[in-house]
Each structure stands twice: as C-alpha cells, then as structure tokens.
C-alpha cells in the first residue's frame, strides 16, 4: 500500500503518455512503475519478476518524465511539509518560523524538534507542489 494520499510525497513516472506512480528505489537500475485500480496496464512492459501485483519495471531510458513530488502548505500563515490528505483533513510537519511558542499552542510534539498537526483541508492555504527531476539526474549519471 504505497501512499496514494493526495498532496502527499510520492514519485511518478510518465510512460507512453500516462502518468503512473513509481516506487522509490534509487539503487535499482529500473524504475518500478505501479498501476493502480482503474489505470491502463502499460503497453510493452513485463510484470514484476518478483510477482508484486500491479508492478512493472521500466528503464529510465524509456520514460518521458520521472520525478519526486512533495507538497507544502500554510496553516495560520505558518509553513508545513505535507504528509497528505485523508478524509478531508491534511497532515503536516511543522517547518515554520514562529517556533515553539506557536507549536506548543496548536500542534502535537512528536520529537525533540518535531511538531505536527492535522487540519481541515479548507483551513490550509498555499498548497504548493515541488518536483525534483529524477530523470534529469539519471541522465547526468548515464550520458549516452
């Protein structure tokens, strides 16, 4: 059950015009493309030899895009790293600048430097996606 939460971190691959989720494994020579329910099976790819359902290995050389996606949002004006939305609420890890005073008032402390909260989606602003181009990195490391 790789994460499918909207606005959560994830990896994606574009293959033959369709965007699929991808599993994260930079140490493998192939990308593992993940077909979710209702998505078309990728043409020309063999199923995962390890037998994982819905998984198809694909070479980075054969995809048109491959990227890591992460999201941030603001709540009460403060910045959060998004863990994704579920049941109309969004979870975030606090990255703001008001610090402990704000965090102690509104959030749950989960570690020495870690605070997080879960908020109604309608209360957050500035939902922003950042994409990291994994295909460009791969091409730099594998020049033709």
């Amino acid at each position: 059950m790789a994460s499918t939460r909207p606005y959560g971190p994830g990896r994606f691959v574009e293959y033959r015009g369709h965007t699929y989720r991808a599993l994260s494994n930079d140490r493998a020579p192939m990308i593992t493309l993940r077909v979710d329910d209702g998505e078309p099976a990728p043409q020309g790819l063999e199923p995962d030899p390890q037998g994982r359902p819905g998984c198809y290995p694909v070479s980075p050389a054969d995809v048109t895009a491959w990227y890591g996606s992460s999201w941030t949002f603001r709540w009460k004006g403060e910045l959060f790293s998004s863990g994704g939305a579920r049941n109309g609420r969004i979870n975030g890890y606090y990255m703001g600048t008001k610090g402990a005073a704000f965090a102690d008032a509104y959030l749950t402390r989960t570690g020495a430097i870690e605070y997080e909260g879960t908020f109604p989606l309608e209360e957050v602003t500035d939902l922003t996606e950042e994409r990291h181009d994994l295909l460009a990195t791969w091409k730099e490391r594998h020049p033709e």
């Binding site: 790789a2 930079d26 890591g68 992460s70 790293s81 994704g84 890890y93 749950t108 989960t110 020495a112």
Partner: protein
C-alpha cells in the same frame, strides 16, 4: 530477506569526528573548545563563536545513497510494522513516509544501546511524553534507509525559543530559515549530545528501508523491512 543495514553497513563514510578534526586542524582551532561551543545553545554564543561552529558544521553533509537513521518510538515502530494509518493515540500516520529529525548512519553506528541513543540524540523530554526512548527503556527502534536522491533535509541551525536569533544564526550559516525550537534544541546543527542532525521534509520511504530493534545489552536485530509498498516483519 537478508537484512542489509546492520551496524557495519552504517559505517559507509568517515564519521563526523573525523571531519571535525580535519576542519579544526586546518583552521588551527582547539577540539575541546569547539565541542563545548557546538553543544551550547546558540543563544549563549557570540557571533564569532557561532560562525566557527556553523562553518565547520556546513562541511558535514549527507551524500546521495548514504545511510541515514531515525529513532522511532515504540508505538510508531509498531505502526510502521503493522502498516497502520492511525497511531494508538489517534494521530494520523502514513507508514510509507518518513521525515523530521534524522542522523547519518555513520554517526550513529557507535550508539549500541537505547541509553546511548537517548543521550547522544538528546531525547530526554523531562516527562513531557514526546521522547521515542524513555528513560530506562528496555528497547529502542531505529529506522534505517539509503538517502533518496530527492531527500530534502536541512541542517538544524537556529536558536532556542527566539525566532529573530534563529534567523540570525541561519543567516550566518548561509541557509534559509532558522529553527526556533525549545529545549533540548541547540541551534548549532548538533543535538545536545553532540551528534550532527538534519530536519527532513516528508518523503517517500525507499524500498529496502529497515527497522532495527536495539536492546540494553548492545544487541540489535532487524525487525522489519519495506518492500516499496508495505512493511514486512522479520524475526528480529
């Protein structure tokens, strides 16, 4: 499945002590004094002292693929291993993600007991309840993974409970936003126990991530591994 991230695998590069010694030697600085400075809250340091600390700290980096670690509380470790979406306290959880405070494997390889982790990572919560390793813990759990290419982790520069001072430290360090956290935060980029730490944004866990269980006798065993979609328990 053969565990791949045992203690020996954590030592994939020289540890922070080696780097600090090299940097101090090149700068003609004293190690004992530097150790005192880097474990003192930046609020109590002069600009010159802060500059010395952050300049050395900025030479310690996480490289692509390097093993990074994160201590997990028992309830969080269990939630990962059960692929749960909610923690026992009702808090939302996603077992396919990680984030927050992380340290390099090479810097934690010598921490072999729960007490070692608690001391080096400054996990004494003084009863507040957030510590992943309570005092006298009979076990501790550590998440271990290879740093993904798209890891977003920043050094924990800042100041204790002072947003303006935190930003000043960040400016001296040449980074974006300073962190204004409460005790036991130092703002030097090191834990109160002197270990380099980073603050990671929420990220997808890579395949092959492992959770290790550590006990007071110094033994460790792999408790579970992540296959890219789900956590699988092992016999550890």
């Amino acid at each position: 499945m053969t565990p791949r991230l045992g203690r020996d695998a954590l030592r994939d590069s020289p540890g922070f002590d080696t780097r600090i010694d090299q940097e101090l030697s090149a700068r003609g600085l004293d190690r004992a004094e530097h150790d005192r400075l880097r474990t003192t809250p930046t609020n109590d340091l002069t600009d010159e002292q802060i500059q010395q600390v952050v300049d050395v700290r900025n030479t310690i980096e996480i490289s692509d693929g390097q093993v990074v670690t994160k201590v997990l509380g028992g309830d969080v470790a269990k939630a990962y291993m059960e692929n749960a979406e909610v923690l026992p306290n009702g808090r939302d959880f996603d077992p396919t993600q990680f984030g927050g405070s992380i340290a390099r494997g090479t810097d934690t390889a010598g921490l072999t007991t729960p007490a070692d982790l608690r001391d080096a990572l400054a996990l004494d919560d003084r009863g507040a309840g957030w510590s992943p390793v309570p005092e006298g813990a009979s076990e501790a759990y550590q998440l271990r993974l290879h740093a993904p290419t798209d890891l977003q982790a920043v050094t924990t520069f800042g100041a204790v409970d002072d947003p303006a001072a935190a930003q000043h430290v960040a400016d001296l360090a040449g980074v974006g936003a300073g962190r204004p956290w409460g005790d036991p935060f130092t703002g030097t980029g090191y834990t109160g126990g002197g270990l380099p730490e980073w603050d990671a944004a929420r990220s997808s866990l890579p395949s092959g991530s492992e959770i290790w269980r550590m006990t007071p006798d110094g033994r460790e065993s792999c408790a579970a591994y992540f296959d890219g979609e789900r956590w699988i328990r092992t016999h550890g």
